[in-house]
């Protein structure tokens, strides 16, 4: 206990982290009549301040000085590839970009908004059904979520309506209704907005993928294809394909964010209070550690204060949730040697490589335009949509052209094709040719969980508050590399059908370790996963701590293993799912919801 901390007036619910999960939980809890304090470490943010055109579309400030992202000088993680190494702090943004400030990752994200494939939710069961238990590689902690697509469907639907998601359905209520993803499950309703229009590269990719025999579809995007009013009554403007999505507050109010889509209503609610600039140190537990009594945090003046609450909901970024559990003693820390304990277990990432295709010089690919969530994908090699038997890997990878707007510095930074000089007239010619006539195709593969890939507290390094940093132990596995190489070859097939002048297929190499200096993706997952077995999951299927019943932990930390899709849609649905069970069951009868 922090005995000398000033104690504030108790509230019903304290929420740690002001992103999507926090805002959804705050909205739901105030709807249930509970008083809510939402604590956010970073500054308050809004479109008017952070998205004011034209200052907001400053690539240097946004994408190279990381305006909306975490201040790594105060708090970061340490990283190593395996447990024999000594981890060192991640001091410069590169491989992944955690956000900071109100809106969190939900403000700086791109807007790709997926539902989790049904098979991914029960991947262990499905793999054993299809290929037998022996198919699961040694050391892979393959698990089920403990919740089904059917159970989550109303909450996927709700999240799409709140986000104003643009897309085309394939199947609604069991009837084929459109040209959506043929592998996607039936939906209770259409997307609230029609799909964004294809940019030219996505159009070419769609045509070529069809020719090869794949099943292209429009990426579901939380970039509004039209202006929109969501169920909370808030308005979004329409996306104009300016391309300033990822890393930016959208000046058109068209990229869904907690700031635009939920907080305008919450901020007016008398039961809601947002406190920005408040860094939570730990969740306080009662003497026997079975019940949370509130949280202790550092307020903007630097004072340590305790906010008592009946319930604590952790909704920080994936690894911050895991770290807060470890710092607070909620759940048993994971021990990789014994493969016991649950907090830090099943830490996963995403298996992304980007290949480049050059078209004829008569074809301008207009890469400067785009929408963060827009584009065309095919799922023929995602999830359990194909036979993994002869391929020898678990999980899958969607493939897509997600042209999100290539900005000037980024274009110069990437330069020309491999082998092009990094300076001089040859560099310039290569860069111009690439910027004008090429396109990018991503293999967006899932990353499976392994026994020796995990999170724990670093024994050496501490943050600005003197608390241990979180340590990541991560490396790519052969499963990732086999998956990537197989799927990237399929990109080669499509590139050929596009009439590519030149192709640069980027494949993961066996034996090449995870490199923190190269941007991968910010789609980190696991570490405090949900499930049906307290021995292998930190949270039950309602995202409630198995050990401390009045603590709920919402985020991608709950994913037992990685997925080929972007995580936000699943995080939002899980938030609504957990909130539903808190509202309908927990509030009346506080206690474990599963057991």
């Amino acid at each position: 206990m922090s005995d000398d901390a000033r104690r504030l007036h108790p509230v019903d619910v304290v929420i740690v982290g002001g992103g999507w999960a926090g805002s959804i939980m705050a909205k739901e809890m105030t709807e249930a009549g509970r008083s809510v304090v939402m604590l956010e470490r970073g500054p308050d943010r809004s479109t008017a301040a952070d998205g004011a055109y034209p200052a907001s579309i400053d690539e240097l400030e946004a994408n190279f000085r990381y305006k909306l992202f975490q201040d790594l000088s105060k708090n970061t993680v340490t990283i190593r590839n395996n447990s024999q190494q000594t981890a060192l702090p991640y001091r410069r943004m590169a491989a992944f970009l955690p956000g900071e400030g109100v809106g969190g990752a939900g403000l700086h994200w791109s807007g790709v908004h997926f539902r989790m494939p049904p098979d991914d939710l029960r991947l262990r069961t499905r793999v054993i059904e299809k290929y037998g238990a022996k198919f699961i590689p040694e050391g892979m902690n393959l698990q089920d979520y403990g919740v089904s697509y059917e159970e989550l469907e109303p909450f996927f639907d709700k999240a799409e309506k709140v986000f104003g998601t643009s897309g085309e359905a394939y199947m609604v209520k069991g009837q084929v209704v459109g040209k959506g993803n043929v592998f996607s499950p039936s939906r209770s309703d259409h997307f609230p907005l029609p799909a964004l229009k294809d940019v030219y590269t996505a159009h070419l990719f769609r045509k070529a993928a069809e020719e090869v025999g794949f099943h292209p579809y429009s990426l579901p995007a939380a970039n509004a294809s039209r202006q929109y009013i969501n169920p909370y009554g808030v308005q979004m403007g329409p996306c104009n394909f300016c391309g300033y999505c990822s890393g930016y507050a959208c000046y058109m109010y068209s990229k869904a964010s907690p700031n635009v889509n939920i907080l305008p209503v919450l901020r007016r609610h008398p039961l809601f209070e947002l406190r920005a600039g408040c860094h939570v140190l730990k969740v306080e537990l009662d003497t026997d550690g079975r019940r949370a009594t509130g949280v202790t945090y550092i307020d903007p003046d630097g004072s340590v204060v305790t906010q008592p609450a009946e319930m604590v909901i952790l909704t920080a970024f994936q690894f911050h949730n895991v770290r807060l559990m470890l710092l607070s003693g909620i759940g048993k820390p994971y021990d990789p040697v014994r493969n016991e304990g649950v907090v830090g277990r099943n830490f996963v990432y995403q298996n992304v490589t980007t290949s480049n295709v050059w078209l004829d010089r008569g074809i301008d690919t207009n890469q400067y335009i785009g929408a963060g969530g827009g584009g065309v994908a095919f799922d023929d090699f995602n999830s359990e949509n194909f036979d993994h038997g002869p391929l020898g890997f678990v999980g899958g990878s969607p493939v897509w052209v997600n042209q999100a707007g290539v900005k000037a510095i980024a274009a110069a930074h990437s330069g020309g094709p491999p082998g092009t000089p990094r300076w001089g007239s040859a560099w310039k010619a290569g860069m111009i040719d690439t910027y004008r006539h090429s396109l990018r195709i991503d293999a967006h593969g899932a990353n499976m969980a392994y026994r020796d890939v995990y999170l724990d507290l670093d024994p050496t390094w501490k943050d600005a508050c003197g608390q241990p940093l979180l340590r990541m132990t991560f490396d790519w596995k052969d499963n990732d590399i086999r998956m990537n190489r197989y799927v990237v070859d399929r990109i080669g097939d499509v590139a050929k059908a596009m009439g590519a002048r030149r192709v640069n297929l980027t494949r993961r190499e066996f034996g090449k370790p995870f490199d923190t200096r190269q941007y991968q993706t910010t789609h980190l997952g696991g570490g405090a996963v949900m499930g049906s077995d307290p021995g292998t999951s930190a949270l039950n299927r309602y995202l409630q701590s198995w050990d401390v019943h009045n603590v709920f932990v919402i985020g991608a930390n709950a994913f037992p293993q990685g997925t080929g899709y972007n995580p936000t849609g699943m995080v939002a649905a899980l938030a609504y799912w957990a909130a539903h069970h808190i509202r309908t069951t927990y509030l009346a009868h506080p206690g474990p919801l599963a057991g």
Binding site: A48, Y232, G233, G237, P238, L263
Partner: protein, 453 residues
């Protein structure tokens, strides 16, 4: 500002012509001291509603300050006028007012001590308030408003406007007698009771004419009711640099193409498909109309739709003309201001000028854009504007100001382009017009408080 200059002029005229006339005296006071302390919560609630309908807070509440504690400053060339404290505080507010004194101040512009109120207080309109509404207002201000000790010293006006007695002359000449006003109101017949209600709300508590009706040289509104003729609500002089548009039926520059539903929606949310609120109307919606009932908003709308155009239409009604859109889409930016428009405006207002109605307002066919005087349009371009959240529309939208990015010529070119494109037919704007408006910009820019969505 025009208003202040006129006050100055008015003072001069009155001082010269009618010197020596006595101020109003206490015998004007009625003696009906009603026992307000017996009034129930219902009267307080209705009084609060009327205070919103009358938009008292717009002047008497400083943003972020205690309700009705006064102090809001009105900067005029003749000095600074401060809105008084109208909380029931006995020393610094109106706590000692009897209901009769309250009624006299409201409807006749006479303070408790007999002095005349500056006509910034719209008593020529409030003269039309019914006894019942004055009563509930009194109950609300005495029992529903928290007394706040806050002395507002009226020491900002310079001579001769620092003197109250010339105002009395003005009041006697131009402010209607409440009894006569009520009689006039009773004489009017309305086939539709909603229109009757609307006329009361607009001409009385709503005091829409205070901004939207032109004023004479001596500052009185040229018409106080619909009966007074077609100048009523035909568009006012600039208020705080914003030019209130006509609320009559002109096709291009008035509400000719707004239907009842549009007006209702506008009053509730500040936004409707043909335009969005700005300037002083933002406060009128924020304090006032968003809190009204749908029935009252409909009454206002139906009444406004009975107001004919000021002058017979000479120009053809506005029809969308796609020529400019076609040119821009073909990459032709040779027209004056076209390039700046495409670079800085088209992302939201689109090359077709239609915007994204209720989110980003259209410029094509927008009455504000076609106003003969371009003041509001220039000012919005320079300063930006915030469409504030309301109860029914929780999202605010902010247009950035371009004052720091565009010189006067670029602004003049852009505004000229907007005023002549897509069927709009307003005259060109000069660099001098822009320079004049730029000089009046608020030093508090960007505004201290921005919406948080």
């Amino acid at each position: 500002m025009a208003w202040g200059k006129r006050l100055c002029l008015l003072a001069g005229i009155l001082t010269a012509v009618v010197m020596g006339m006595p101020p109003a005296r206490a015998q004007d006071m009625a003696q009906d001291h009603q026992a307000y302390d017996q009034a129930g919560d219902d009267a307080i609630t209705r009084g609060e509603y009327m205070a919103r309908a009358a938009d008292c807070a717009a002047c008497h509440t400083v943003p972020g300050g205690a309700p009705f504690a006064g102090g809001m400053a009105f900067h005029l060339p003749t000095g600074t006028l401060y809105a008084p404290n109208i909380t029931p505080d006995r020393q610094t507010g109106i706590g000692q007012y009897s209901e009769a004194e309250f009624s006299r101040a409201l409807r006749r512009g006479i303070r408790r001590d007999g002095a005349t109120l500056y006509p910034a207080m719209p008593y020529p309109s409030y003269a039309r308030l019914t006894d019942a509404d004055v009563h509930v207002l009194y109950v609300y201000f005495m029992q529903g408003v928290k007394p706040v000790p806050h002395a507002v010293v009226q020491d900002g006006m310079s001579w001769p406007m620092s003197m109250r007695w010339p105002l009395s002359i003005w009041r006697m000449l131009f402010a209607p007698d409440p009894k006569a006003a009520l009689r006039d109101m009773d004489r009017r017949t309305f086939a539709d009771p909603l229109v009757a209600r609307g006329s009361y709300l607009v001409e009385g508590p709503g005091h829409c004419g205070a901004c939207h009706t032109p004023r004479a040289l001596t500052m009185q509104e040229k018409a106080l009711t619909a009966v007074d003729g077609p100048l009523y609500l035909s568009g006012g002089d600039a208020v705080d640099g914003w030019r209130p548009v006509s609320l009559r039926g002109e096709n291009r520059t008035g509400l000719g193409r707004w239907n009842e539903h549009d007006i209702v929606r506008f009053l509730a949310t500040g936004r409707m498909p043909l335009g969005a609120a700005f300037g002083g109307m933002t406060d009128a919606i924020g304090h006032g109309t968003q809190h009204m009932t749908d029935d009252d908003r409909l009454a206002i709308a139906r009444y406004l739709k009975t107001l004919s155009p000021t002058a017979p239409a000479v120009a053809q009604g506005w029809i969308y003309d796609p020529a400019v859109t076609d040119a821009l889409r073909a990459g032709d930016v040779s027209a004056r201001g076209a390039r700046a428009y495409v670079d800085s405006c088209a992302a939201c207002h689109r090359t077709d000028g239609r915007g994204y109605p209720t989110t980003f307002p259209p410029l094509a066919g927008n009455p504000v854009v076609m106003d003969p005087r371009p003041d509001s349009l220039i000012r919005i371009v320079l300063e930006g504007n915030t469409l504030r959240a309301t109860r029914q529309a929780p999202s605010a939208f902010v247009m950035p100001g371009f004052a720091t990015r565009m010189d006067d010529k670029t602004v003049a070119d852009t505004v000229t382009f907007i005023r002549a494109a897509w069927g709009n037919d307003a005259p060109a704007v000069t660099v001098a017009d822009v320079a004049r408006i730029r000089r009046t910009l608020s030093p508090e820019h960007p505004p201290v408080s921005l919406p948080m969505n």
